[in-house]
């Protein structure tokens, strides 16, 4: 077991290093840290001075090494816009995004597993077909459009119909200016719903097929044959094994969420990683963009690694092969 984990961790280190080279090269090739200065400054010496100060006149490998050693030690440079340290900015925004991710995953996992188990146990029933149709709908849904429609029909229309002073659910930000009852839940509801649509659609299909796989295996027939009640076979013998593939898929998707909430956060003005990225991109804030992409890459690699290890822990056959 230990060698298995060590081997997987060791494999992800070169991936991380090569990814850092690519990310550095890509971001530096596509964004210009001096663009604002070039436009804004009348001092002809300002651009060369700033270039020397930031070390941009050095050869690229030297710059890369300086950046990487700084990145590892946590000194990520300052934002060009706010002049605050990029590490502080990202840490604050990461926590807000994490709240969305945690609630989104909990909700999606519960719904997806329930739907998947039901669909598998009543295959080809009316509800199974309904869920299949809905999951196709969810997988084809443009996230931003769903968010806009959710604001229209869950915030604006109810307010019009019932003549409310305050909307039931909020569509902007994390807090209200003045404290409101259930403020947190009312702000969280719509972004979480939006990010859950595709997760539920994907995961429930996955859970259904993995459940169908398990339920057609021999040991399930044995369990039924020795007289165990159907419910017990389904939930105790079937579900426990059918959850293994879903766990790994979930781990991979969670990693991707760290860089994937850009649309949701933009529409709901959620002060998280996605909004930080868009602002930095529009302002050409290289010192925020570079660590942002690297941090999300680290999360993606980390959760891919977790998926690998979880699979080995939950299913010893993988570990031994």
């Amino acid at each position: 077991m230990v060698t298995f984990v060590v081997r997987r961790v060791a494999y992800s280190i070169p991936v991380l290093l090569i990814a850092s080279v690519l990310v550095f090269g890509f971001v530096r090739a596509t964004t210009d840290p001096l663009a604002r200065l070039r436009q804004g400054s009348r001092d002809p010496q300002a651009v060369p001075r700033e270039r020397a100060r930031l070390g941009l006149d050095k050869p690229l490998p030297t710059q890369y090494w300086k950046w990487l050693s700084g990145f590892v030690r946590g000194s990520w440079g300052d934002s060009f816009i706010t002049r605050r340290s990029a590490a502080q900015e990202i840490r604050a925004k990461l926590w807000n995004t994490l709240q969305l991710i945690i609630w989104g995953i909990l909700l999606s996992a519960l719904v997806a597993i329930a739907v998947g188990v039901y669909s598998a146990s009543r295959q080809y029933s009316v509800l199974d077909y309904t869920f299949t149709g809905l999951s196709f709908l969810g997988l084809s849904m443009p996230v931003f459009w769903f968010a806009l429609m959710a604001i229209q029909f869950l915030v604006y229309e109810p307010r019009q119909i019932f003549h409310l002073d305050q909307p039931i659910l909020y569509s902007v930000g994390l807090h209200s200016a003045t404290p409101q009852p259930f403020d947190y839940v009312r702000h969280l509801a719509l972004p979480v719903l939006t990010l859950s649509v595709q997760l539920v659609a994907g995961w429930s299909r996955y859970q259904r097929s993995s459940m169908l796989d398990v339920m057609s295996s021999d040991y399930i027939r044995t369990a039924r044959a020795k007289g165990l009640p159907r419910r017990k076979v389904l939930l105790k013998h079937g579900l426990r094994n059918a959850l293994i593939p879903l766990t790994t898929v979930m781990a991979i998707d969670i990693g991707a969420l760290f860089g994937g909430l850009i649309i949701t956060e933009k529409i709901f003005a959620w002060p998280g990683m996605g909004k930080l990225f868009l602002d930095a991109l529009i302002d050409g804030d290289t010192n925020v963009l570079l660590p942002w992409v690297m941090v999300t890459a680290v999360f993606i690699i980390g959760f891919n690694l977790l998926a690998d290890i979880l699979y080995g822990v939950l299913d010893p056959r993988i570990r031994l092969s």
Binding site: V15, I18, A19, L22, V23, F26, V27, T30, T31, F136, L137, L139, S140, M141, P142, V143, F144, W145, L148, M149, I151, Q152, V155, Y156, S171, S209, L212, A256, F258, G259, G260, I262, I263, K266, F277, L278, L281, L289, W292, V293, T296, A297, I300, I301, N304
Partner: protein
């Protein structure tokens, strides 16, 4: 699977309905009670067509897509108003009505007209990205799968790296740098998408490589390129076609997302994504009809492509259960 069984018509029909081989049987009634079974050879293509047309939802999806593409091609004939009308003569922000089916926007432009013209851009991007990324991805995947060794290692490690970077962020950075013209978007999206198809084709080629017919071709002196193009690629057409349709769906979704965020197709070129970007302010007002229809067109198109892909998968590979 040739069945010669006098009087067993029902059984033969059942077997023909299964139709899992290239040879199916059809019962021909000759006289009262007596039945002669004629084995009917069906080509792979005929079998594929039969299976596909049984998948009613996929056929319907294909018809919807055909209509969408036709309306985009004949946009001038389908719509009643010019794309850029003389604004002085139009009525701004009129809700859906008999004369303006989807209403008009803040400049009085007919929304239905704009959606049909936007479909030209969105559908063209979807199709082009699918064609380019499928061509590039199939070639690279085929080479990696066939030659193996370092070519394979290089492809697998390269695509591994693409999987660990946040795709949408990378696309947005690239779009900010290289601008919002349609060809640029097609190239940028293709650069990201080719690797999915490359991985699929590589997998198919790895298993095809061990088949006897490849061995036979090699033994009879065929060159590597001839084996790849004449013998192996035609056998990989199923997975390639399925993944190409999925690429269309993904490209349309991604383009609309980029355009919505302001980093995709830029006005005055009109796409479904940038129509939604321009109408975002209509959310939460009585003009919300401006956001209903462009999004609905994206949703219907992507869903139709996905259903078509599902039907193709079932038709190419009846044993697959996905």
């Amino acid at each position: 699977m040739a069945i010669r069984d006098k009087g067993g018509a029902a059984e033969a029909k059942a077997a023909a309905a299964v139709g899992s081989g290239a040879l199916a049987s059809e019962a021909t009634h000759v006289g009262a009670g007596a039945t002669v079974l004629q084995p009917v050879a069906r080509s792979q293509w005929q079998l594929f067509r039969r299976r596909f047309f049984k998948h009613k939802v996929a056929v319907a999806a294909g018809v919807v897509l055909l209509l969408l593409y036709l309306s985009a091609i004949f946009a001038g004939q389908v719509t009643r108003y010019p794309l850029n009308p003389n604004i002085a003569q139009t009525q701004a922000q009129a809700g859906p009505s008999a004369s303006h089916w989807f209403g008009t926007d803040e400049l009085g432009r007919d929304q239905f007209t704009r959606i049909i013209y936007a479909g030209r851009i969105s559908l063209a991007i979807g199709l082009s990205v699918a064609v380019v990324s499928t061509a590039v991805g199939s070639l690279i995947g085929a080479a990696a799968g066939y030659f193996g060794r370092w070519a394979d290692q290089l492809l697998m490690r390269l695509t591994d790296l693409f999987l660990v970077v946040p795709a949408l962020a990378i696309l947005l950075i690239a779009q900010k740098k290289f601008g919002g013209s349609v060809p640029v978007i097609i190239i940028v999206l293709s650069l990201l998408f080719w690797q999915y198809i490359a991985r699929v084709v590589r997998g198919v080629f790895l298993s095809l490589k061990e088949k006897e017919f490849v061995e036979a071709a090699r033994a009879s002196g065929a060159s590597s390129w001839r084996i790849i193009f004449r013998h192996m690629l035609p056998n990989a057409i199923g997975p390639i076609a399925v993944n190409a349709t999925l690429a269309v769906a993904l490209a349309i979704l991604t383009e609309s997302t980029l355009s919505f965020l302001g980093f995709g197709v830029r006005p005055p070129t009109v796409s479904w994504g940038n129509m939604l970007q321009q109408s975002e302010g209509a959310v939460g007002t009585s003009n919300a009809y401006l956001i209903y229809f462009p999004g609905l067109f994206i949703l219907v198109t992507v869903m139709a492509v996905n259903f078509l892909g599902d039907g193709l998968r079932d038709a190419f590979d009846p044993q697959s259960k996905h």
